[in-house]
Assembly symmetry: C2
Homo-oligomer: 251 residues x 2
């Protein structure tokens, strides 16, 4: 099962969801691969200390033909990582005019068939070729939406892109769900925004809401998932619940 | 004095800084114009309730020749607003190949010479034509940087763009300062990130740090600045201090 985490809005919790959902699934004894497709490599930095070479990153998966897709271990048992590299920023330019360009990730992942139960793909805040590659390669899409007054701006563009991809390149792509992130329980505004998101996305909205929890901001600095860093935190409990909800929805 | 608020990273506090710094300056009896150059129109939504027509927005400033640049009042005394519109998303495409494209905002603002003491420009999270227009039109740049583990990723690209603009189109552009946003006092991580930002930007970093304060998230829902919405909050006190620091640096 290949799942893309996408929202072209910046700073809405894509990486935080990718790294902790991937860990949550690994904790249930699933074999999980976290694929970092963002040139900013935030998912990579959350688990890996050492420098990554471009030819050992997802850049090579997309742009270096004939490379067997490589990945590395993370500190989390059962979780592997395909690290990103800043070279990904050139992919759009490099694959300009290549009709195969949207399928590069799909082809690379097909070489890993059977090695993983879940592939979780973190994407950059754009609707460009990298995010398209992720959506073309995936069966499912999870959309993190930040609980903020401006939360819904731009979701139309994201949904248009999904529709275009379903129409031509990947009719199997489904929206697995919308996860509300950085929710603040203390405000009336938070409640209003949650209602607004539920009005628009209905049953797609996961029951699990991720509330604002500073532990989720800290764990990447220690190269740990939230589950080893702060297992009793609300962040850990909520991402564990989200993992269970995802398993339920895909079964 | 024309000041651009820019950082191509999403969700780092550009809009929150634009709307509240503009108000802080208006509170000191300066005549201030807040220019919204983001198709997502978040600054606009923070002060204006009614729908804005494309031909009465900054889209018209950039793409409709011969239009006198229009603006509207806000609930804040002394603060006017040039509202944005989703049509701005087409500007890059529409002005394709036009050698004058980077100068459109500069030309529009020159028609308003003498009407305002400060022009504050909110920009989208990109380094495209809209942000370039803002930087070409401005004397000063303020860079909000979110206090987060991934804070410094991407600042190189921003600084490269500034250098390119200084080299050719606007040699007068200066970085007025870097403002650290969404700082969390309670964490060791916050302290480390602040030190890291200060190591890189030195004296450019404003003494005023904006800490995380939920009131700053709420005030746009009420179409008020933080100063009328929650005058005693840390958000209000800090943006007031930032206003004073800006005045000191430009005098
Ligand atoms: N529930 C939460 N509580 C507190 N902080 C959070 C939470 N979720 C995310 N954050 C923090 O907010 C910031 C943005 O989150 P994140 O990096 O996951 O977003 P993103 O969508 O991947 O951003 P980008 O578009 O830049 O890749 C990070 O500093 C992260 O640690
Ligand atoms: N100091 C703060 N404390 C609490 N919340 C904040 C603070 N600063 C900004 N926010 C909230 O964080 C979110 C992102 O901030 P903002 O919209 O100002 O960023 P931005 O850089 O303009 O984002 P974009 O790139 O999408 O335009 C908003 O919901 C905002 O209300
Ligand atoms: Mg990310
Ligand atoms: Mg903004």
């Amino acid at each position: 099962m290949i799942i893309t985490i996408a929202n072209q809005k910046g700073g809405v919790g894509k990486t935080t969801t990718a790294i902790n959902l991937a860990s949550a699934l690994a904790l249930t004894r699933k074999r999980v691969l976290l694929v970092d497709l963002d040139p900013q490599a935030n998912s990579t930095m959350s688990y890996i200390q050492d420098d990554v070479q471009a030819d050992a990153s997802t850049y090579a998966w997309l742009c270096e033909e004939g490379t067997a897709p490589s990945f590395v271990d993370t500190p989390v048992a059962g979780l592997s990582l395909a690290p990103a590299h800043l070279a990904l920023a050139r992919v759009e330019q490099q694959l300009q005019g290549d009709l195969e360009a949207p399928y590069r990730l799909k082809d690379a992942l097909s070489q890993l068939k059977g090695q993983f139960d879940f592939v979780i793909i973190d994407t950059p805040p754009t609707l460009g070729l990298l995010t398209v590659n992720a959506m073309v390669a995936s069966q499912q899409l999870i959309i993190p939406i930040q609980s903020s007054y401006f939360a819904m701006e731009g979701t139309d563009d994201l949904l248009d892109t999904v529709e275009k991809i379903k129409k031509r390149t990947n009719p199997n792509l489904e929206i697995l769900g919308v996860v509300v992130t950085m929710y603040d329980r203390r405000t009336v505004l938070g409640k209003d925004i949650l209602d607004q998101i539920r009005d628009v996305f209905g049953q797609k909205v996961f029951k699990t809401v991720i509330t604002r929890n500073v532990r989720l901001e800290e764990s990447p600095a220690y190269k740990e998932s939230i589950f080893s860093f702060a297992p009793k935190s609300s962040g850990a409990q909520q991402y564990l619940k989200l993992g269970r909800e995802v398993l339920k929805r895909v079964s």
